[in-house]
Symmetry: C2
C-alpha cells in the first residue's frame, strides 16, 4: 500500500493568480484573418477601422421626389409650386441615390401629381431633409470595434457596411483533453448500444468539458483514454503540445493516490505550480507548465471535473482570447434548509431554485462529486466561502445561476413524497412549449407538508395514511397545516408492496416473511408515506419492527429502494410496482393507496398550477401513467379540498 501524500492546498484566488498571469493576454499565436461573414462569436485581435463610409452616397430616406431645396423656397399652401418631373423633381424610392444637383426629398404624401410631367408642392423643402447623407452611419477611418471584442451579429452588419470583408481575430485556443484511467471506455466504443464490461467506466468527462470549452470560444481536441502508465501519459502530453495545443487538460489521476500519475509526469516534463485547491468539488487540481504551455490536472469525478474546469480552464481560455470571463448571473435566494460546510474549503453547492410568492427558494442537491445529475438538475451554485462554516435555514444567500431567471420563475417546485408520475408531469409540462418545468425534491410526505407551511414549494406529493380512519392526507393537513389554506388534488391510486429480487428466491409472500433471519430489509425514511403505510400494516399484523434486519437502514426514494434490492444490498424493500418493473424486479402487493398533491390555496389559480392541472387531466398523461403498471389514474385531477 502506498502512503497518501496530502495535497498542499492553495485558495482558488491565490491559485488562479499564481497561474493565469504567467500566460499572455491574447494567447500564444498570431492573429487569423477570416471572412467577416464567419466571424460571429470570434474575438478581434486588433482595432478595426472603417474602410468605407456608410451610406457611401447621399440616399433618399423616404419614397418621394428629390429636389434642389433652393428651387422650392417659394412654395406655399396658398401658392403651390409647380415642378417639372425629370428636371426639377425626380421620383425616388427609399435608398435610391439622390440625382446629381438635388439635396432634399419631399415625401410622396406631400406631392400632388398634376399631370404626367409635373407635380405640385405646397411647402418648401429645406436642404438635406429626408436624405441619408454619406457617412451618416459610419465615417471611413472611424473605429468600428476595439481589439479584444467578441463579435456579435450586429457587428457583422457594421463591419460589412464599412466594407470590411475580412477581420483579424484571435485563433481559438486549442485545448487537448487527455482522459486517463485504464478502466475507461471511450464513448465511441459504446456506439452500438453495448454495455460496458465489469469494472469499465464510460469516459464522458472529455465530452462535457469539450462542450464547455466550445462555449467559451476554445477549440477542444478530445484524445482517446490513456492507460494508467507514466510512459503513455508522458507521450500524450508531449504529442499534444507538439501538435500545437495551447493548453493541455489531463482528466483524472490528479490526486495523490498510487495511480495518480499526473503530478509526477508534469513535474518530469516541466513544473507543477499548484497541487490542490481548497475548493470542493475540484480539490485535486494541478496547475503546471510544460514548454511554456499550461498543463492542467483535472480531477476525475464528473462534478469535480466540471467545477475545476469552469474555475481554471474557462478563465485561462478567456485570457488567451483577450476577453473577460463571462460572469454568471447572480440572484439572492433563501435557503430551504441548513447547508453545513467545511471550514477551509470553498464549497460549490448545487441548488434547485424556484420562485414562491416572489421569493426565490434555494434547495441544496446532494453533494456527491460523482453524481453528474446533481449538475444537470441544478438551477444554480451556492458558493460557501472558505471561512464560513455553513449557511442556516432561511438565510439569504447569493446564488450563481445556471438557468435564466425567467426559466426559474417558471419552475414549479414540488417538495414532498416521491412518485414516478412526477417525471411524466415534468415531461408533459415541457411538451406544452410554454417554458414551465417541474423540479421535485424528495423529502417524504411529511417533509412536503412542512415545505408548504414554510412557503418553500408550489406543491407537495403526499400519501399519508390516517391509521385511525384509513383515509389519506386530510387529517395530516388539519394537524400540520393549521391556518394555512391549501387545496388537495388527487393524482393517482397506486399499489404499494414488497420489491424483491427477480424470481423471488427467498419466497417472500407477505410482511411476516420480513422477520425471517435470512431476509435483509431496506426501509424508507421516517415521515414518508410508505413508512407510515408499512408501520400501519406491521402494527395491524402485530409484527415487531425490531425483529426486522435492516429496518433501521433508510432510503429516500422508491427507486433507491429498488436499486438496493437489485444490487443485492437487501432482499426486500417496500415500494411501488413501477420501481420494481423499472429494474426488472419482482413485486409482492401489500396495499393500494391514494397519492395526492397538496397545493397552497393562494397559488391554486396561478398559471403554472393551472397548467399542471390541465396536464394531469389530459388523456396522454393518463395513458402514460396506466402503461407503467400498478397505477390507477382514472380520477387524476379531481379536487378533493
Amino acid at each position: 500500500m502506498s502512503r497518501r501524500i496530502y495535497l498542499r492546498l492553495k485558495s482558488l484566488e491565490e491559485g488562479k493568480r499564481a497561474f493565469l498571469e504567467r500566460f499572455p493576454v491574447g494567447g500564444f499565436r498570431a492573429p487569423e484573418l477570416i471572412p467577416t461573414v464567419e466571424a460571429c462569436g470570434r474575438v478581434t485581435a486588433s482595432p478595426v477601422f472603417a474602410r468605407l463610409s456608410s451610406p457611401t452616397y447621399h440616399a433618399a430616406a423616404m419614397d418621394g421626389v428629390a429636389v434642389r431645396a433652393e428651387d422650392t423656397f417659394e412654395a406655399h399652401v396658398d401658392r403651390p409650386l409647380r415642378l417639372t418631373l425629370g428636371i426639377q423633381a425626380h421620383p425616388v424610392n427609399t435608398g435610391h441615390p439622390l440625382p446629381a444637383g438635388t439635396n432634399a426629398v419631399i415625401m410622396v404624401e406631400e406631392v400632388t401629381e398634376e399631370d404626367d410631367g409635373t407635380v405640385l408642392i405646397e411647402a418648401p423643402a429645406y436642404p438635406w431633409q429626408n436624405v441619408r447623407r454619406v457617412g451618416e452611419d459610419i465615417v471611413a477611418t472611424e473605429l468600428l470595434l476595439p481589439q479584444n471584442h467578441r463579435i456579435t451579429p450586429y457587428d457583422l452588419g457594421a463591419l460589412l457596411g464599412a466594407g470590411i470583408v475580412s477581420v483579424p481575430v484571435r485563433p481559438k485556443p486549442k485545448v487537448a483533453l487527455v482522459p486517463t484511467g485504464s478502466e475507461l471506455v471511450s464513448v465511441e466504443m459504446l456506439s452500438d448500444g453495448k454495455v460496458p464490461g465489469p469494472g469499465q467506466v464510460i469516459e464522458y468527462n472529455s465530452v462535457v468539458l469539450a462542450g464547455l470549452i466550445r462555449q467559451w470560444g476554445g477549440d477542444p481536441v478530445r484524445h482517446p483514454p490513456v492507460p494508467d502508465e507514466p510512459e503513455a501519459l508522458r507521450g500524450s502530453i508531449e504529442e499534444a503540445i507538439a501538435c500545437g495545443a495551447d493548453l493541455v487538460v489531463v482528466i483524472a489521476g490528479s490526486s495523490a493516490g498510487s495511480e495518480d500519475l499526473t503530478v509526477k509526469v508534469v513535474e518530469e516534463l516541466g513544473a507543477v505550480l499548484v497541487h490542490g485547491i481548497s475548493m470542493m468539488p475540484g480539490k485535486p487540481t494541478i496547475l503546471g507548465v510544460v514548454r511554456d504551455r499550461p498543463v492542467i490536472g483535472n480531477p476525475g469525478y464528473p462534478v469535480s471535473s466540471v467545477v475545476s474546469c469552469e474555475q481554471i480552464v474557462g478563465p485561462l481560455i478567456c485570457r488567451l482570447l483577450g476577453v473577460e470571463s463571462p460572469p454568471r448571473l447572480k440572484l439572492l435566494a433563501r435557503t430551504s434548509q441548513k447547508v453545513p460546510s467545511k471550514i477551509g474549503m470553498e464549497e460549490f453547492v448545487r441548488v434547485k431554485l424556484g420562485e414562491v410568492r416572489g421569493h426565490i427558494v434555494a434547495t441544496p442537491l446532494p453533494r456527491a462529486a460523482g453524481s453528474i445529475t446533481t449538475l444537470t438538475r441544478a438551477d444554480g451554485i451556492l458558493r460557501v466561502p472558505e471561512e464560513v462554516e455553513g449557511v442556516e435555514e432561511g438565510q439569504v444567500v447569493e446564488v450563481e445561476l445556471l438557468r435564466s431567471p425567467e426559466a426559474i420563475r417558471r419552475t414549479l417546485v414540488a417538495i414532498g413524497s416521491h412518485d414516478l408520475t412526477l417525471d411524466l408531469i415534468a415531461d408533459r409540462l415541457a411538451a406544452s412549449g410554454l417554458g414551465y418545468t417541474l423540479a421535485s425534491s424528495n423529502v417524504g410526505s411529511l417533509g412536503g407538508l412542512m415545505a408548504i407551511r414554510k412557503g418553500h414549494a408550489h406543491l407537495a406529493g403526499s400519501h399519508l395514511l390516517d391509521t385511525e380512519t384509513g383515509d389519506y392526507n386530510f387529517s395530516y393537513i388539519r394537524r400540520y397545516l393549521q391556518g394555512v389554506p391549501v387545496r388537495l388534488v388527487h393524482l393517482v391510486y397506486r399499489e404499494q408492496g414488497l420489491i424483491v429480487p427477480k424470481g423471488n428466491p427467498l419466497e417472500i409472500r407477505d410482511l411476516g416473511d420480513l422477520l425471517r433471519p435470512e431476509v435483509t430489509f431496506i426501509n424508507r425514511q421516517g415521515g414518508s408515506g410508505t413508512r407510515v403505510l408499512l408501520d400501519y400494516h406491521l402494527a395491524r399484523l402485530g409484527l415487531d419492527p425490531a425483529l426486522i434486519r435492516g429496518y433501521d437502514r433508510e432510503e429516500y426514494t422508491h427507486m433507491a429502494v429498488a436499486v438496493a434490492v437489485a444490487s443485492g444490498a437487501a432482499q426486500a424493500g417496500m415500494g411501488i410496482l413501477a420501481a420494481a418493473n423499472a429494474l426488472d424486479l419482482d413485486f409482492v402487493p401489500v396495499a393500494r393507496e391514494r397519492y395526492d398533491l397538496v397545493i397552497p390555496g393562494d397559488l391554486f389559480h396561478s398559471e403554472g398550477i393551472q397548467l399542471l392541472l390541465e396536464v394531469i387531466r389530459c388523456p396522454e398523461f393518463r395513458s402514460a401513467v396506466a402503461s407503467m403498471g400498478g397505477y390507477d389514474p382514472s380520477e387524476s385531477g379531481r379536487v378533493l379540498l
Copy 2:
C-alpha cells in the same frame, strides 16, 4: 407616381398571436437521431430515459481496502483487527469495482500495513461505507431529460453516463433569407476590397439575421439578392419552400411603396395575415403563409430588420424547436435625458448604459433605423409602450440588456466633447483584457459639465476657452460645477482649424473668408468647445456671424463636420486636423487648444478611472495619438486640478 397605401397596423402582441399560433410547437419535421457527443445546444424531441444505471457496478469511492463490513465489527482502537490482504482486505483505488463478497471500503489513512500480507484496522466498517453503489447517480429507466429541453454540456455527461449514445432532437428550423433590391451587392462580390459602384448598397442584413438565427438554434440559408421584379421574388420564395425551408424571410420591400413587391407576391402565392406592426423600428413587417409555411416580410433598414427579426422570427424559430424564446435580461435605469416617443407606436430606443455611483444611467442613442451602429454601440433597449408619449429625464425605466450587467458595470461613461483620441483610449482599455470599455456620447463640452453635475458620467471631455483669460476649463468648472468636487486631467493639445475640400478650391485662408458669399459653412452646436473657440476668434476679428452662410446649421462631432465638407454640403467647417485627415480633406489651422478630462472627485480613485489614467500615460497611447497628426500628447495624464 404611385399612391402610397397606408399599412393597417397591428400591435406587436396581437400580430404575434395571430401568426405564431398557426404553426406547430415542435415544427414541421420528424425528429433527427444524432450522436450525443454532437448534441450540445440541440433540443430534445422526446423524453429521454436512462438505458444503464450509473455507476454500473459498486465502486470504491476512496482509495483504501475493500472489506466485508461484517468481518470488521470486532475492530477497536484498543484491539486492532488483523486482516489478510487478498482474502479479507483488497487494495482498491477510487472508482475500482468492489471485489466479490465485499461491501465497504476503509480509507487508506485508516489502515496500517503490518507486513506485506496483513493490515490492521482500529474501527469497524459499516456496510456500504465509501462505496458508490449501482445507480447512485442514475437509475436505469429514470427520466434524464424531458422533451423540448435544450441540451447543455452537463446533460451530455448524464446521457453518456446512462449509455445514451444517440439522442432524438428537433431538426434545426431551416430559414431561407431572401434579400431583395436591384441596388444590392452581395458581400461575396466585395471580397477583394472593391468599392460598391454609385447607387449600389452592400447587402449585409442577411448576414446579421443569419447570425441571430444561429444563436436561436435555426439553420439560416442565405440567398443571393433578388432584383425588384415580381417574377424573380415569386420564384425565390417558391424555390425556398420546395427546397425544404421551414420559414422564409424576405428582406426589404416589405412596405407599401412602388417597389415594395413582397406583399403582392405573398398574397398571390398564399395569404398575408398582417401587414404593418405598430413598432418602431420594424413597422413595415409582413406576416404571411405560403403552402402552410410562414413567410415573413422583413423591413430593409438594418435596425428595422433586426428588431422585426428579433420580435417575430426569433419567437417563431423557438416555437418550431419547442422551446421558450430566451428572454433578455432586464434592469432598471434612470434616463439621462428626455425620450420623446410617438403615441400609437411601441418604440425600441437603443440606449447606452453605465453605472455611476451604483445607479445605472441610460442615454438614448440616435433613432435612425438606417444606422446599424446605433445597435452595435447600444448596451440595451428601452421599450416605450404604444400608449406612452415618452419618458422624462431622470425617470426610472426597465431596459432590456444587450450586454452583461458585469460588462455594463465596467463601462466608463464619457459624456461631453468629442475627440478622436477617445477611440484610442477605448481600444487601449480593451487591450488590457480586464473587461473595461469606454462609451462616449457627444454633447459638447458644456453638456459634459452638466452630465458630471447630474451624476450621469464618469468623465467629460472638455476644451472650454475662457475668452477673458485665454485659459481653458477652470473658470467653467468654477461656474457650472460649484460645490461638485472634480479633478481635471489633461489629455492632449490639439490644432483646431477650418476643414475644407481637398485642394481648397475656394482658397479659404482664414476666418474672414467665411463671409464670402460663395462659401457655405457648417457649424458645431452651441455649448461645444469648438463653437466657443470659433465665436471667440470671430469676435476678436470683428466678424459678424450673421453674415456667415450656414452658421445656423449645426453638427455634433468633428467627423460629422468633415463629412458635410467631404459630401459637398458645405465648403468649410471648424474642426480638428485628424478629422480632416481621416477623410482626406484639407485643413487651415486657426488655433491650438487644450483638451482635458473632467472627473468627479469621488470617482477619481476607482479602478476604471485609474486604468484610464494608466492608458493615457503609456507610450503606446501617446505614439498612436501623435501619429494622427495635429495632436501634442506630451503631457497626457497630467493632473491639473
